[in-house]
Amino acid sequence: MSTAFAATGTVPALEAVGISKHFDGVFALNGAQLSVRPGEIHALLGENGAGKSTLVKVLTGVHTPDSGRILRSGEEVEFANVRVAHHAGIVALYQELSIIPTISVAENILLGEQTPSRGGVVQWSRLRRRAQEQLDKLHQKIPLRQLAGELSPVQQTMVSFARALANDAQVLILDEPTASLTDTEITELFAVLRSLRASGVAIVYVSHRLEEVFELCDRITIMRNGETVLTKDVADSTIDEVISTMVGRSPGELFPDRGTATSTVALTVEGLSGRRVQDVSFTAHRGEVLGIGGLAGSGRSELLRILAGAQKHVSGTITVGETRLPHSAGVARTLDAGMALVPEERRSQGVILSATIQDNIALANIATVSALGMVSGGRIADITRRGMADLQVKARSPHQPVGELSGGNQQKVVLAKMLARNPAVLLMDEPTRGIDVGTKAEIYRLIRRLAATGTTVIAVSSELPELIGMSDRVLIMHEGRISGEARSEDADEELLLAYCYGKAVS
């Protein structure tokens, strides 16, 4: 039905022609093109650094392009700043910037100049009525008087949509809108996006989650190195084609060959129970990559946190090699026993963004780099150099703040930090979240290299192809329990998904 609408909208709602933009002499965009029709959901894809976010910023008036034209419904426009773009009906919604937590839902929908008032006094009843109209368009039931900060993430996203509608937005740009949503919430979000599409709104959808793109979007535009390399209908494309276009090579190379796990047990978990985790037992071997999957809320991340000592458990035992950890040992003792965690929330839990690469690595290895309570600069420099070389961290110098690096390189710093301790067991939570496809392949190769040197890697992932591709063996959790196990050469997505939903498969 979207295509029917698209057919009538022959004039693109928003068109970027030959946009170039450079920073400090380096081209971020080099003649980029994008054409979004009214009533379509248009995926904007590319590796990190391909120019997606710069293009979005040009389209929303954050940056002015060096050259090129922007056409809004066929008319050439210039966006001097964000507000001009806003007035032209172009609204970008970023996950972390979507709402104001301290004021009510109604006020969030009709913010600032939109708030109905007379003589400087807010007209609450008109405000609520008009806010309700916007929510009705989205078929959302959200209490208008509630503070927006108390809503669930998906409700907050809905409120920001409602505000965009109230602003008469004709072009919505969404950046990774599903990042913090559960599967059911994603379904709800997609339903709303489809109804917005049906009402003629043009939606630009920026995401790394290709499965979602193929489920939701009408067309895709792929960028690489600041240029637009492909625009085509989703129906005529495949995930493989998209990946190879993004990376510039074929996806078969994404996952390295599997290794051979040894039979030496590196980790034994018996009867582990705690918050969201019920009676979990398994073993992992030296040199093995063990994937753990499950739906959001299945307890997969909690299991990992308990193993890392970051969350207390109620009962059960954890044995690393021969050493049985004391009950709820805590992070420090777990680290000493040789088990380290690379957390999912890289920016808040993994690295200190304002600190340099060297300081981040030194911090996690303070015992290694110091003697008699004094920190040895030489040793820090040493392990930093080694870590950066090992992991091919792309940075100007060890003294560059981590916040300036790309997501993939930040993740490498987190890894370097943990690897400097030579852990026997490395726990990784969503090791490739928010990382572009090119760097993903590097991370997979790295995991494999670690396994080859005898490290046991236990990785939680929400992406089934990733679980199968990177692991030797996969455990699936459902409602806190292990609902299925498969060697990855025997596993396919269908089987794992069945486990995810707790279905016994014979």
Binding site: R83, I99, T102, I103, E113, Q114, W124, G149
Partner: protein
């Protein structure tokens, strides 16, 4: 406690449906702490604590703190805070007193003092919103300079012998209630209305909640912050003028304890509501806690050093209690 223990019936679905008053009452440990304090002091001295005279004493004693705390609330709503408020109030009181001793009549002297407060607020707002200094640095600096100015204006002495008409602003009574109590209540109601009903107030809340979204929604963030600081300066000047009238004298440092107490009152007030934002009703609960504590402990004859320790502990207890409640949700 009551909300969490009552299991929701199938009919009423999870969304909290409660009148704002009911919600307010069960919200935080802070309100409970205030009630507990009142009950405690009443139990200890039933013959004294809740008598008309003593309640009037408490209201009189907190009226100026209430005004300064109201000013602090505005600034904290936009997500900043103002260390210079008490100093600004002292300066305003000193300026008014100095002018009146020079022979300026009362009303113009008060107006000039108000303009001085407005000016200090404007300077703070300009430094924070337009120059981009942190509120801590900017207001710490203005606090230092403003205190210096107050020393200059008073020549380091205490100015006294102010006109009777002026003194009656602080010491006079209407219907047997001191004038500052009316002014504090009146100003609080105005500020409450300002924050709750006007677009200006709602914009302040928006700015305090998320600067970026506010900016993108066409709210002039810089002007909003400037305005909040300016209003706070003006209101603190009202407090300082009243303090001078109440004491019948003005010195450069009188009322300097109002700074920490005002911040404490706003923080206590933030624990009163679930969202944890600065709000006027909560601030007044905080002011009441501080006032009841001080009066009650005086009545019980508790050593003032011990009082100070206990006040700190009560603040910690109230904030802890309400943060525990927040976590339970």
């Amino acid at each position: 406690m009551t909300t969490t223990t009552t299991p929701p019936t199938a009919a009423e679905v999870p969304v909290q449906k409660r009148t704002s008053i009911g919600k307010f009452l069960v919200q935080g440990g802070t309100t409970i702490a205030l009630i507990a304090l009142v009950l405690f002091f009443f139990a200890m001295r039933p013959d004294v604590f809740l008598t008309f005279t003593n309640v009037r004493n408490i209201l009189f004693q907190v009226s100026i703190l209430a005004i300064i705390s109201g000013a602090q609330t505005l600034v904290m709503v936009v997500g900043d805070f103002d260390l210079s408020l008490a100093a600004t109030s002292s300066l305003a009181g000193s300026v008014a007193a100095s002018l009146m001793l020079d022979g300026t009549s009362t009303l113009p002297a008060i107006l000039v003092a108000l303009v001085v407060g407005l000016g200090v607020g404007l300077a703070n707002g300009f430094l924070v919103a337009y120059v981009g200094l942190s509120a801590f640095v900017a207001t710490l600096a203005t606090m230092t300079s403003v205190t210096g100015l107050a020393y200059l204006v008073t020549e380091g002495t205490t100015l006294f012998d102010l006109p009777a008409g002026f003194d009656s602003l602080g010491q006079g009574r209407v219907l047997n209630i001191p004038v500052p109590v009316y002014i504090a209540i009146g100003l609080s109601v105005v500020l409450w209305g300002l924050l709750r009903f006007t677009t200006t107030g709602r914009k302040w809340y928006a700015i305090g909640g998320n600067v970026e979204v506010s900016r993108l929604s066409g709210i002039n963030v810089q002007r909003g912050r400037l305005l909040a600081f300016t209003a706070a300066g003006l209101i603190s000047a009202v407090g300082g003028i009243l303090l001078a009238a109440r004491l019948g004298s003005a010195s450069a440092v009188q009322g300097s304890d109002n700074l920490l107490f005002s911040v404490a009152a706003v923080f206590l007030g933030m624990t009163v509501i679930r969202s944890g934002r600065a709000n006027l009703v909560g601030t007044m609960v905080g002011v009441a806690i501080i006032g009841v504590m001080s009066n009650g402990l005086n009545i019980l004859g508790v050593n003032s050093y011990v009082q100070q320790v206990v006040t700190g502990l009560i603040i910690i207890a109230a904030v802890t209690l309400s943060s525990v409640r927040t976590r339970e949700r």
